[in-house]
């Protein structure tokens, strides 16, 4: 069961990872899509939805503009979903606390993804030379293939990130689970609430809308009063 779950996750990591830069950009790579779909394939869609909500906003403010590489929230979402389901079954704890622990272990490894993606882009630096060489020799078919070879480096970087997150989680979670289970479960709901709010705060801090905080507070206040009083 576990190997199958890990493979399913790897498949999602590959497909969604490629969507990030290499192909399509239809945004199946966003956590709000990737996590629920992964978890759905593993039979626990609600865990995926929870992870999607918590991860989606955290790095949404980091735009993939030009040569800037944001941290890999896609693989964090997929890796955390796989970990939460696998570890939940393994330790018999399909709870919000387990989901949170897995997510908090996976989250810093998003930075590893940033590093791998950066290496992939560097590695593609040899392709222009190869394409030009093929053109000089009049081998147009080969020139096109060299372009498509770039997909390999991005696929590899996605899978490596996913591997790092899952391996890190599989090693760390069983050990820290007895230690953190109690403290985290005491404030599990507060943590679940805090993560999306931090993400929104990050967006407010970096979006170039004048008076973003005023607009936000007004919308928040109005919606909250409506929900509370109606």
């Amino acid at each position: 069961m576990t190997p199958l779950a890990l493979l399913t996750g790897a498949f999602m990591a590959l497909v969604c990872g490629l969507d990030r830069i290499a192909v399509f950009q239809v945004l199946i790579s966003r956590p709000v899509v990737a996590a629920p779909v992964t978890a759905l394939l593993l039979g626990e869609p609600l865990i995926g939805l929870q992870i999607g909500v918590m991860v989606e906003l955290l790095w949404l403010a980091r735009l993939p503009v030009g040569a800037a590489v944001p941290p890999d929230d896609t693989q964090v979402a997929i890796g955390a979903s796989v970990l939460a389901v696998v570890m939940g079954r393994h330790l018999d704890a399909m709870t919000l606390t387990m989901t949170l622990v897995c997510l908090l272990v996976a989250f810093p490894l998003g930075k590893v993804g940033q590093f791998f993606e950066h290496r992939a882009r560097l590695y593609n630096g040899r392709l222009p030379g190869l394409v030009e060489q093929a053109i000089e020799q009049g081998k147009m078919g080969q020139a096109q293939w060299q372009h498509l070879r770039g997909m390999l480096s991005f696929a590899l970087s996605s899978l490596l990130t996913y591997g790092a997150i899952v391996a890190g989680g599989l090693l760390a979670v069983p050990h820290i689970w007895p230690l953190v289970q109690n403290p985290v479960s005491l404030s599990a709901e507060a943590l679940q609430l805090a993560l999306p709010l931090i993400g929104v705060a990050m967006i407010l801090g970096s979006i170039n809308v004048s008076r973003a905080i005023t607009l936000f507070c007004a919308a928040f206040g109005m919606a909250f009063l409506l929900l509370w009083l109606v």
Binding site: R62, L63, V65, G66, A67, A68, H118, R121, L122, G125, S206, I207, N208, S210
Partner: protein, 164 residues
Amino acid sequence: MNLVLIRVDNRLIHGQVLESWVPFVQANCIVVANDAIASNPLKQLMMKASVPSRMRVEIYTVDEAVRLLQATDLDAYRVLLLFGTTADALRAYRRGLAYEQLNLGNLHADAGKARFSCTVFLDARDLDDLEMLEQAGVVITARCIPADTERPWRKLIPNVKEME
């Protein structure tokens, strides 16, 4: 004159500048100092179309831009100044535009340029320009977007790997 960021970026106005730097430094005016764009009305028009209308955009040749910044017209604005090349940055400095910090953004690969960081490719002449600016007391750092770590340009030199 209130210069909040001076940046060398061969792409001039693009996503990194508008989406990351403008909100970070709270700029409300962009001055582009580039001779080629200043002499081409169509390019100017395209460039201005990519900026929201609440931001002021001024596109001038390097010399004119220096004169504009030394005058009092833009005193009320927080100005983000963009150069296309290191040579332009040096020229502006020599024309009397005193600035203390210079940000290196994108300087793209070309024949004869070596890679100093992911997005900064320099040749010998660029190095000379930066050298002279540094001797004049300008602090030069490479940083693509605000979320990246700021690195002094001298630290980049051991990174030199391939020649394009």
